[in-house]
Point group: C2
Chain length 375, copies 2
Amino acid sequence: MHTLRMSRITISPRIRMTPFHESTVAAGLSDLTVYNKMVLPTSYGDLKAEYDRLINGVALWDVSAERQVEVSGPDADACVQYLTSRDLGKQKEGQGYYVAMCDHAGRILNDPVLLKLSGNRYWFSLADSDMLYWCRAIAAEKGFDVEVCEPDVSPLALQGPKAEDLVAELFGEHIRDLRYFGFIETDLDGIPLVLCRSGWSKQGGFELFLQDGSRGNELYQKVLTAGEKYDIGPGAPNHVERVESALLSWGGDTTPESNPFESGMGRFVHTDTDVDYIGKEALQAIVANGGPERLLCGLIVEDETVDAWPLPARTPVRHNGEEVGTMSAIVHSHRMDKTIALAQVRRDLVEQGEVVQVEGPAGQASATITSLPFL
Amino acid sequence: MHTLRMSRITISPRIRMTPFHESTVAAGLSDLTVYNKMVLPTSYGDLKAEYDRLINGVALWDVSAERQVEVSGPDADACVQYLTSRDLGKQKEGQGYYVAMCDHAGRILNDPVLLKLSGNRYWFSLADSDMLYWCRAIAAEKGFDVEVCEPDVSPLALQGPKAEDLVAELFGEHIRDLRYFGFIETDLDGIPLVLCRSGWSKQGGFELFLQDGSRGNELYQKVLTAGEKYDIGPGAPNHVERVESALLSWGGDTTPESNPFESGMGRFVHTDTDVDYIGKEALQAIVANGGPERLLCGLIVEDETVDAWPLPARTPVRHNGEEVGTMSAIVHSHRMDKTIALAQVRRDLVEQGEVVQVEGPAGQASATITSLPFL
């Protein structure tokens, strides 16, 4: 399976390059993937150094591929609520919510952060699926008076314990008051952006949502220069850290049939609410029937052969020979000095913390179910 | 820009592998891309040999990434018509139609081949966008009584002048009677598949729509063995041949705002019809206003520096210094011994066959607009 590791990627105009492209190449970009039909850098050649930088310093990530869908107009509140399985009644301007977007059968289609901008204007900051089309279909057929578009907005993430000091130096001390998922519209020497305390790690940090793609490399260089004293360096969403922190990879940890309860998103789904949204009846039925069939869980694995790269595909999880789930990620945790994994497994086995068998890179291994996150 | 050419691809469970994966690795897979969140092989290390095989012999392509969306049920006819800007009134079972799927503003979302299977059952055989979600949104909100799913169907293409002899040997002489886009449900030694006279080249051939992913490598090996006497070999949708033949790459040759008239699909769009479909009013308005602003056209380019790989991004087309369109592909045609390109350019310039300036891999070059296809 791992033979693909050495394959070259063919880029064509169907796959978009990012506004930070020249800077990432200059920084030594070596590995990448495709996400929302855009290049997503995955490494600059030294995954361990990139991990250490994220845990101890500050890492600079080009996550432009985390695209935005903007919903604006008189019916924006109603439209966005209808698209989201979380009660948005208390969401304030300047606040982001982690939400599940579901289809009418309750399957999870995306797990964005929803930013409430000024007035009737929202951004879904998205995982890897074409929610632009989904939102346009719903808005048009339901007759909402909104405009739905993908704006020129590309996030650049600063992640790690030293990110806050760097961002305070760039934007002012007031940014220290931002709560998690809190954001402001601002600029850096005239480069327009939304600054949000967010990012796909648990090491703290911010995302600069660049609002002018023509100025990407300018922004990148300004941050890089100011970051020198904080030992800044290039990085990318880190597979080991995200498994340690149990951050969901939609489409990776989930299957096409997964509902949000099976995806670790239960606490962001409101079924006991008056608001109307897509998939509500299906999700209520799951609750009424006692809960989902599977749960996302952690595994402590007896296997010392794994590296820091993703599994190329989900593999079966078995219990007494019976297939009871799928494993979607397995890594060696540097901080735990253990091999850990993420899986969706039959709920009764998860609740009992059973021992299961998994298929790691080197073959069968025993694994003990544990709660999430690991760290 | 071409620095990405040597980047490695990171595969994770979010990106699906194909049922033919082991066979493509054994055949020497060297380059790939991501299409519909699935691996799409792009080369086995020798693009010229792959081109020659396609033009003179028979090439075996893993095009599993051309996913199907199946619409079935009592309202399938009405639902599929509503999703399609072509009048389907005369489509017969066993017949494929090349169609545009548009949004409510007339933008083209995909350019699938629509296969009408037995009864109220259709497959959209898709380009690279999440039409599963689009179709489910429309079907649910519009209240069509249908089921929409992505079935376990993965096409394996046999392309080139010797493909018909090989397919006749495998399936029987009757397959020679199939018309273009005509298809039958059949099997190969019990491996269930739909056999269709189709494929993303103009060199003739067939696609075997495998209906059991667990038997992919078995099917591949059977075809490879039977193909030995026809000098079969591995290949992939060929960038040079597809430019020569002017086969549309949706998302590459089109922009997010393109309508089908600008994408060379005008003759497959019916605006003077009683049937109702998404985008009809917007498309009628374009016709009423005299036609689209741009047209897809060919260019004969004064530039000898191009190779057989795709451009990494669209580049501007200029006329007297003014930007008048975008170029999406530029290759050296082996059969024409000329450098040729595809572009969307302002309609009046296309209709007059003007000389324009393009940005090729080596910089500015003059180009003469010409009609399509080149060959």
